[in-house]
């Protein structure tokens, strides 16, 4: 069962939203509906599911309905139609008390402009969710203190929100959400109001916190770079519709339509595309059992000057060159071990192009992509790295 499941959620703003639903189902566009009926479509048939521990990013420009969508998840905005299942329980149909209970126990939200209570100290702000739940003073203080330490704000307990910088205020916002122990974090443009350096720092921190905590995070942003950086999967929204859902690479490699393509064209691909996407299939390998003569024949067939050697489990042994091999055959001392160069640069499949560039430049041979058991998955040539950066790699990898 998915942690959060959103099924066919609609949100239409206006006096008679139910009358607009059939129009949307017929495929009338958002603009036509606005012109004809004065109703504004916030979310149009959104469906997705988020797994426990996943970081799911909803990305869209302003007016795309992403903030409306996230508010439908905890019913800060009442969806017009559809289901939102939290641990299998539909919150759209549930009564007020159940809703309050779910908001208290299961999800916590972080806001763009921090939304701290200006009349309370930092520690009391962090403890707010616990106070609402009716927890006693001691437990509140203890948990709030832990959350505050987690976000690196120890020592600021008694400060007031206005005394803190924007980045620090948002840490308080994050601590407030963490203090309740909710499994699900809803983050609405949480870092958008921060300046770029602080934003990057917060992203890194969120990622490292996430490794420890394994929360289910739904993160809203208008910043594609941010989405690509922190998202396990990304949903791209336009005019209330989710246009595409996929991993960062899937979205870069196979944009669902022209809109997404235009959107992603300026992305720094070196920071997103991984070795797995640009590597060539390792067709020409030689097993150490096959011997030097087979190796030479294979190199001649493919007209290459060196070949990677693997054992029978396809684990990398090293590389031999055609010069060394023919030398051995000439001298009739065929022993592959003697000419084997074990000093081969290997990389894991999720290495980013950014990291591959210096390696490929400093290595005499192509890079070998191996899994955790040194099993060969593919080979990366200088040219494949270049092609990967400009996004023109062919798809045999």
């Amino acid at each position: 069962m998915s942690k959060v499941e959103v099924k066919n959620v609609y949100k239409i703003f206006g006096p008679t939203p139910q009358n607009i639903l059939p129009l949307l189902e017929k495929g009338t566009t958002k603009n036509e509906i606005l012109k004809k009926t004065g109703h504004s479509v916030g979310v149009n048939n959104a469906s997705f599911s988020v797994e426990q521990g996943e970081m799911f990013v909803v990305m869209g420009l302003s007016g795309s309905g992403k903030s409306t969508l996230i508010r439908c998840l905890n019913r800060l905005i009442e969806p017009t139609a559809g289901q939102v299942l939290i641990d299998g329980q539909d919150i759209v149909g549930c009564d007020k008390n159940t809703l309050i209970e779910i908001r208290r126990k299961k999800m916590a939200m972080v806001f763009q402009n921090f939304a701290l209570l200006p009349h309370r100290t930092i520690i009391d702000n962090v403890a707010f969710g616990l106070e609402i739940q009716g927890k006693n003073q001691e437990e509140r203080k203890e948990k709030a203190q832990q959350a505050l330490e987690l976000v690196g704000l120890k020592g600021y307990e008694e400060s007031m929100p206005t005394e803190l910088s924007g980045g620090m205020q948002q840490r308080v916002g994050l601590a407030r959400a963490l203090a309740t122990d909710a499994d699900i974090l809803l983050m609405d443009e949480a870092f958008s109001a921060l300046d770029p350096l602080i934003r990057k720092e917060m992203q890194d921190e969120l990622l490292s916190l996430q490794v420890k905590m394994q929360k289910t995070i739904i993160f809203i942003t208008h910043d594609l770079d941010e989405a690509l950086k922190i998202g396990d999967r990304i949903a791209i929204m336009k005019d209330g519709v989710i246009v595409q859902i996929g991993t960062p690479e899937e979205i870069l490699e196979n944009p669902a339509n022209e809109y997404v393509r235009e959107f992603v064209q300026d992305v720094n691909r070196a920071r997103v595309v991984t070795a797995a996407s640009i590597m060539k299939r390792a067709d020409t390998l030689v097993s150490s059992k096959e011997g030097v003569r087979v190796a030479v024949r294979k190199m001649k067939e493919e007209s290459i000057s060196s070949i990677f050697v693997v054992n029978k489990e396809r684990q990398l042994e090293g590389i031999i060159t055609i010069d060394d091999a023919t030398e051995q055959i000439k001298n009739r001392k065929e022993n592959i071990e003697k000419i084997l160069n074990r000093d081969v640069q290997t990389v894991s499949p999720d290495t980013l192009i950014e990291e591959l560039i210096p390696m490929v430049l400093n290595s005499r041979y192509p890079l070998v992509v191996v899994d955790e058991n040194r099993k060969v998955l593919g080979i990366i040539f200088k040219a494949s790295v270049l092609a990967g950066i400009i996004g023109e790699e062919d798809s045999d990898g």
Binding site: L76, R103, K105, F111, A115, L117
Partner: protein, 274 residues
Amino acid sequence: MVRIPLGDYVEIFIDWLTDNFAGFFEGIKNALEATINGFEWVFSTIPFILMVLIFAAIAWKVAGRQTGIFTGLGLWLIGSMELWNATMQTFALVSTATAIALIIGIPLGIWMSRSNTLDKILRPVLDFMQTMPAFVYLIPAVYFFDLGPVPGAVATVIFAMPPVVRLTSLGIRQVPKEVIEASRSFGSTSSQLLYKVQIPLAMPTILAGLNQTILLSLSMVVISAMIGSGGLGDVVLKGITQMRIGLGFEGGLAVVILAMVLDRITQNLGQKRA
């Protein structure tokens, strides 16, 4: 041109009220009388010097040394003009009127902030209450409550309540939307939202309303003295009717001092919290 006898209708309505709700008005009258007398008893039992010191200390604490000193000197001046008892009478009346205005006005303001319909209905009513010449309230007040401090307090409440209603509503409406959303997203009930978020955040504005209400109450002092509410208003009225310019000035000055003291104290209450 047709003469609409609006005045006649009002008279008929007031007569009907006095005939049918005599007991109700009697009850209000007794309650108000008890409150005013209670305040007055407390204020006049505390010795003059102690009262001055209490005021000065409060003013010093909330508004700083200068205001504290000014308060002490000002009240001492009132005492030296032999107007202390009259001032305490007036203070009792103002306290009663302000307390009632708050008790009615704050809940009304909260309600008004939540309902746009009520907001639309109440706005003209509040305008009416505040801009109708205050003398007009005196007549029905006397009708229902006879002469004395009670009708004075009632007229004062009507005239002085609008700011606290308006500013409570405004203060709550001005609480940032995101803060409300944050509170709701953590699962607060509407009463938790009200007491933990909306009222605390609206407090500076509500206190500004309190300040306005107190000052409007004081501006009613002389007017309500015309129906026998006594106090400093009576002193000023005597000065007017007997052409005793000195007495009138002294009474007026005492009102001004009391007004300034109360204004400085309540104003700084609001700023401290902000």
